[in-house]
């Protein structure tokens, strides 16, 4: 149920992100989901990729500061209220979300990547409420 996410520290420099995506392309690594948290001086790039551990190694070799973080990826219906229902369950069960990002894939589904204070509890309550969660091997399908 736990998905490996890569977090990369990036300085705000023109072209820096392109360098990174170039390296992933050269190594034939597909990016499935992607978000950037930015401040004035730097950003934190978070992404779900195929073969995350290999990708982390490749990026480290090129001098990037990379962290592999555990997250949960949940699938919600792509329609009004779809994400609301899921968030309601999470907050009702007192799980604190550190950060999240979402993207719609196709006509009827959206995927939400969540990092929370307790992933274990998050998985437990979502499973209990029959929410669909991605498995590690599913990533390339996202």
């Amino acid at each position: 149920m736990i998905i490996k996410q890569l977090s990369v520290f990036l300085e705000n420099r023109t072209g820096r992100l392109t360098e990174l995506t170039g390296i992933l392309e050269e190594n034939d690594i597909n990016i499935s989901a992607f978000s950037i948290a930015d401040t004035a001086d730097y950003g934190i790039l978070r992404m779900i990729v195929g073969r995350p551990l290999e990708a982390a190694e490749v990026l480290r070799k090129q001098g990037f500061a990379v962290k592999v973080t555990d997250v949960v990826a949940m699938i919600v219906p792509h329609r009004p209220g779809g994400i609301h229902k899921a968030l309601q369950i999470i907050s009702d069960n007192n799980v604190a979300i550190d950060y999240m990002y979402a993207f719609a894939s196709g006509e009827c589904k959206a995927t939400v990547v969540i990092r929370a204070d307790s992933l274990e509890k998050l998985i437990e309550v979502l499973t209990e409420h029959k929410m669909e969660l991605l498995q590690e091997g599913d990533v390339t399908q996202v």
Binding site: E11, A37, Y42, I44, V66
Partner: protein
């Protein structure tokens, strides 16, 4: 005007005799009362009786800042603590400061040399002097304060900062003299323009500036902005504080008050004493200090000495503006900063040695310090709040250890240039030479 013609215009032969006498007495005193010096002299087979004239000074060992740290806080004091009436300190590595102590007589002597300095800038009892150096552990504020009182001027002990208030009092009280760091003087000058204060309403005519390096360009800029004549004062707390040397109206170097602080110039590599006129490291023996006399203290400041009599009538040796340091110390906004201090803060926050770079610059005449820290994986969290928390912790630890604020910039690993595997620690963009 000369405050003390007897000493400031003494024939050099006579002065050398006096210096010899004073060194002789001092060596006897420290031998009897400072175990550190007794041991150091004994190791070299020197007895107090071996030191009789100023020529014997060269036989004595040097004292370094490290010796002061090793003897933290009071082990170099030559008098019982009950005789110490004042303590000052500067920031130090890993939280250990350099501590200096003063007896009642030391404070008198300090006031005397600052009075001489202020007199060189034409200050008299009719002046109103605004002391905008920091008051506190830093010697600048109180040093100028006591000297100005000795002259009999009216002192405004406003301390540093609070620019609006500085300008308001300058106008309302009619301050005639200002004492502060040169960068703050320039800052005040620009604030004057910004606030659209009519300069003709001010009575300011002279400024006594020191505690940090500054250029002749900066001098003319300050003189123009504030409509004053700017004088350079030099000092360091280990020797006494401000008032070790000062520029007279001829502005041809700073006269060292040699009857108290005996100067030498040495080759920083070989420690050989160099003749007048040659560039080397400045060494002082503050021979009359009671609480903390030091033997041949290495200042690490690089300069030259000139002994020709000055047009002002003083015979005291003149030192040029310091051209640099023989160590890696930086002076930022008047505060002494060693890169190793920054390193110790960063080390405390992580298990391994971080890569960092100090970028010093001067914007709007105020020194700025940016510390770039490479975000290696031990530092890296993937949450912004964690990284920002780290940044604030570094910032506040730096501020509390160094006493100055710095901008912390997190950079990617490998960004900071390394040569021969060794990282460069400092980039000083200020144009001071």
């Amino acid at each position: 005007m000369i405050w003390n013609t007897e000493y400031e215009c003494m024939e050099r032969e006579e002065l050398r005799k006096l210096q010899g006498e004073r060194v002789k007495n001092m060596v006897r005193r420290v031998y009897d009362s400072v175990p550190f010096y007794r041991k150091k002299l004994q190791e070299r087979g020197i007895e107090p009786g071996d030191i009789n004239t100023i020529n014997d000074l060269q036989k004595l060992p040097f004292t370094t800042k490290q010796d002061l740290r090793d003897n933290y806080p009071f082990s170099l004091f030559a008098v019982p603590q009950s005789e110490v009436v004042r303590l000052h300190a500067s920031s130090g590595t890993t939280g250990k400061s350099t501590v200096v102590g003063y007896t009642h007589n030391d404070i008198q002597m300090w006031s005397e040399v600052v009075a001489r300095s202020l007199t060189m800038a034409g200050v008299t009892k009719s002046d109103i002097i605004q002391v905008a150096y920091g008051y506190g552990l830093f010697t600048g504020g109180l040093g100028l304060h006591y000297g100005a009182e000795k002259v009999g001027a009216s002192v405004i002990p406003i301390s540093g900062g609070n620019t609006k208030k500085q300008l308001q009092l300058m106008e309302d009280f009619g301050s005639t003299v200002i004492a502060c760091t040169p960068s703050y003087a320039a800052h005040l000058g620009e604030a004057l323009l910004e606030e659209k204060i009519d300069r003709t309403k001010l009575k300011l005519r002279a400024g006594v500036f020191g505690a940090e390096p500054w250029t002749e360009e900066m001098r003319s800029q300050i003189e123009q902005l504030l409509g004053i004549k700017a004088y350079d004062i030099y000092g360091l707390s280990e020797i006494i504080g401000p008032g070790v040397s000062m520029e007279c109206r001829c502005q041809n170097g700073m006269h060292i008050f040699e009857d108290h602080f005996i100067p030498e110039i040495i080759d920083p590599e070989t420690c050989e004493v160099l003749p007048y006129g040659q560039l080397g490291e400045l060494v002082f023996t503050p021979a009359t200090k009671e609480a903390m006399p030091l033997i041949r203290y290495r200042t690490r400041d690089l300069t030259r000495l000139h002994a020709e009599k000055c047009d002002c009538g003083r015979t005291l040796v003149r030192m040029e503006k310091c051209v640099g340091r023989s160590d890696d110390m930086l002076i930022i906004r008047g505060v002494n900063v060693f890169p190793s201090q920054v390193e110790s803060v960063l080390l405390e926050m992580s298990e391994t040695k971080p890569h960092y770079l100090l970028v010093v610059d001067r914007e709007n005449n105020l020194d700025t310090l940016e510390i770039q820290v490479e975000v290696e994986e031990q530092f890296f969290s993937d949450e912004v709040k964690e990284l920002e928390g780290l940044r604030h912790r570094v910032k506040s630890n730096i501020a509390s250890l160094l006493g100055i604020s710095a901008t912390i910039r997190l950079v990617e690993p490998g960004t900071i240039e390394r040569s021969m595997g060794k990282a460069q620690r400092v980039v000083d963009k200020r144009k001071l030479k």
